[in-house]
Amino acid sequence: MRKELKEYKFDWMLLSCFSAASKLQNGTEKEYQQMLRYIPYFRGVVETVLSTGKPGQRFIEICAKYLDNLVNAKERGYHTAITTFCFSPIIFYAMDIMPICLEVMSVMLTFTYKRGSSDFLDFCNEVGFTETSCSSQRGSLGAYLAGIGTDIDMIVTDTPGVCDTNANAFAFAASYLNKPFFQLDMPPDLTGNRSDEYHREDYKALIAFLEEHTGKKLDLDRLRETLQEAEKQDAMIAELEELARLVPNPLPVTYNFFVYASRFLFAGMPECTRVLEAMLEVGRKNAAEGKSGISNGKEKVRSFFCYIDHYVQSLKFWQMLDEYGICYQGNILSRSWASNAPHVKEYGTYEAAYTLHTDDLDKLIGDIALLNSRMPMIKSIRGPYDAPHMWLQDTLSLAKMYKADFIVYNGTPGCRNTWGMVKLLARDTEKAGFPTYIMYADAFDERVQSWETTRDRFLEFLTVRRLI
């Protein structure tokens, strides 16, 4: 790895960028331009995000806040845990543990640096990790392996049974850094008594682990508070999802990202609520005026992503969607599985959802265990893709309900899990009438496929299939 990278704490560098960006809106135009010059590459992202007004502003603020919490965690008496995006942070916040979500950190890296996370990606390989594993963890993990991030107390993941390459990254990190490790294991079936019980028992073991390594007992009242906030957020997300069903969709293309990133960072915390509030404000207003969320007001086609977004190159992917009037109807990872979510109601799939009973302390652990087992990816990628409540069913029902015109797959070459079945999925979705596009790009690493190629192939798909 380049020497200069080792000279600063990498998360501190990210914090500097994001906190600079969060202060932009309050300055004069001149100050604004001045500031942007310090973050030349990041500029594209910042401008895209800030152009959405208050929601974007708040989003950048909470990113900065998150990074600030992370960088100063130790001083403020928090424990730290490396974890994954599909792990609900609620339990950590309720126990004064600062969750370090690797995938989100990797996204932030691709946003801020021209070379993105490539140096860290490569560093992982240098220390013996496989280059074929998923780039979403590997990006920021490299920095922690190199010892240039905040000190870590423990490593916790919930992807065993769902995604090897993800779980393996955490297991590797634990062995490499010699830190305590806990895995929540997911059985192949989502629903049914056996699975419910397994989820619950496993979650109890998690709590025991966290208590052991923090030396603190879980305070159920605090957990309840956090869950109450989460409940409120679920209701707001449900309203946003309801708005997205409208034609035209009143939400800008970036909102999906804001929703799930906020959840991954701050579920159950007021920070997340603030972003959701701001988005709802805009969404409701647009809806009342019958306005589309696309910048030029014209929604031409509606896309649904059956996997993840494309983060490299200053959010250019989203800018492109916006420019061509392609409305982004979200992806499989951005949906909430609370029982009040519109798609749960629409299709009556309550058994695959979770309900919070915050009035009953005895039920809290069971509820949060179930909530966690319904996190994105964890929920719909664990079993055979065509099993009930799994990938195919979710993709088709969401695409239908959100009136998508086509479906896009994007992931990382490291994603054995979805690459193992995406050809089959695409056959089925095509049969169901959705033109389906499989992208070969890496969501986090431009070196796999250049942005130019990604863009050209994507636009070619749209033209050839007569979507635009």
């Binding site: 496989t130 074929t132 390459t165 955490f170 590797f172 059985p187 056996r194 054995r416 089959l424």
Partner: protein, 383 residues
């Protein structure tokens, strides 16, 4: 005798399988060593480990799997598509790893295009990734579900007494294999690593009674042999391998593979099944506990200890850590093994390879040669 083993190790529908079939008996294939053979044995079904051996190209495999998938399941699917597994009456897929678990869907969907390649009986065996009270319970329930599925599909009954007998038979086999292991790591092993692998693989491809008989003779004969000496002693670790040719190439460079920690290898037969108590529960416990492969996240230290112990017992001069491309589980763990074993002065060499026909013999050989040279140099240093 070696011929019998070599034959079974280098063919899919071997003579034992043919004989079994022509007697009108059933065979069930499985992909991963978490499946308790004994249950099938007790109802007169031959358990058979599905392999990817002998594939030419992988056009069928590539049709369904995406491009970034381990070639082992792709080869298995290829063979299935070529009807090379037509003798199977059932298959069991476990979520061993992600590549392997997608064999379930890919095989089913390939069957839509190439009719009749999927046996009527197929079972998804949910194996947990950790060992705790509640995971054994899950695995036990899963095993009961499996017993029920076999019973109803094949119209048989899993009888407790018979199951106990099967467990005893397999334990006998395990004990013999322990002896075999001892011979293998002896100062002058009576057989090569290539032969050893053939012996081990045969166990997954023939009736246990015949296997035990062969093994017994083999052990006796081996004890009388001179033994091979003056070779660089290596241990082979990492991704699954059922190709004896790979070991042969390694041994051509003046090395002898005297130990392994492979899925098709020593890992298969370690640990006995308890013979007292509920046999199904005992099986669940043993099978979930014994298989130390990296899909058991967080148990790295345990596995390192196993390797270390084996390396000392077999007095190995070096360790080859190999993984199939896209096998992150073994690949990443190999990185850690290298770090930790080298620290203790055990030379290691990591390689990434493709499963399937050994086309990269030249490249592989070049590296093994260099590795052997490195070890020789070290020896000269010490001497």
């Amino acid at each position: 005798m070696m011929d019998a083993f070599l034959h079974a190790a280098t063919s899919l529908e071997n003579d034992y399988v043919k004989k079994w079939k022509s007697a009108g008996k059933k065979i069930i294939g499985y992909t991963c060593s978490y499946v308790p053979d004994e249950i099938l044995h007790s109802v007169g079904i031959l358990p058979y480990r599905i392999r990817g051996y002998g594939v030419g190209d992988t056009a069928i495999g590539d049709t369904y799997f995406g491009p970034f998938i381990c070639s082992l399941p792709r080869c298995m699917l290829q063979l299935a598509g070529e009807r090379k597994f037509a003798f199977l009456d059932g298959i069991i897929i476990t979520p061993g790893c992600d590549s392997m678990r997608r064999l379930d869907e890919c095989w089913r969907k390939a069957n839509d295009d190439i009719q009749g390649i999927l046996p009527k009986f197929h079972f998804h065996y949910g194996v947990p990734h950790k060992y705790a009270d509640y995971t054994i319970k899950w695995f036990y329930d899963e095993t009961v579900r499996f017993v029920n599925a076999v019973e109803s599909h094949f119209n048989v009954r899993v009888d407790e007494e018979k199951l106990r007998n099967s467990i005893r038979l397999y334990n006998e086999s395990r004990k013999m294999l322990e002896e075999f292991e001892a011979l293998r790591c002896a100062e002058k092993p009576p057989f090569s690593g290539t032969e050893a692998l053939a012996v081990i693989i045969s166990g997954c491809a023939m009736p246990r009674e015949e296997y035990n008989a062969l093994l017994k003779n083999f052990l006796e004969e081996s004890k009388a042999l001179q033994g091979i000496k003056n070779r660089i002693r290596l241990m082979l670790v990492g991704s699954a391998n059922d190709d004896i040719e790979l070991v042969r190439v390694i041994e051509e460079s003046g090395a002898l593979v005297v130990a392994d920690n492979l899925c098709f290898g020593a890992r298969l037969y370690e640990d006995l099944v308890e013979e007292q108590g509920d046999p199904v529960f005992n099986l669940a416990k043993r099978y979930l506990a014994h298989n130390e492969c990296p899909r058991r996240y967080g148990d790295y230290k345990k596995r390192l200890a196993i390797l270390r112990e084996k390396a000392h017992r077999a007095r190995v001069d070096g360790v080859i850590l190999q993984n199939i491309r896209f096998c992150d589980l073994h690949g990443a763990e190999n990185g850690l093994f290298e770090r930790d074993l080298e620290k203790e002065g055990i030379p290691c060499m990591r390689i990434e390879r493709e499963y399937g026909p050994l086309v990269e013999k030249g490249r592989l050989k070049m590296r093994v040669d260099a590795f052997v040279e490195r070890i020789r140099q070290k020896r000269r240093e010490i001497a």
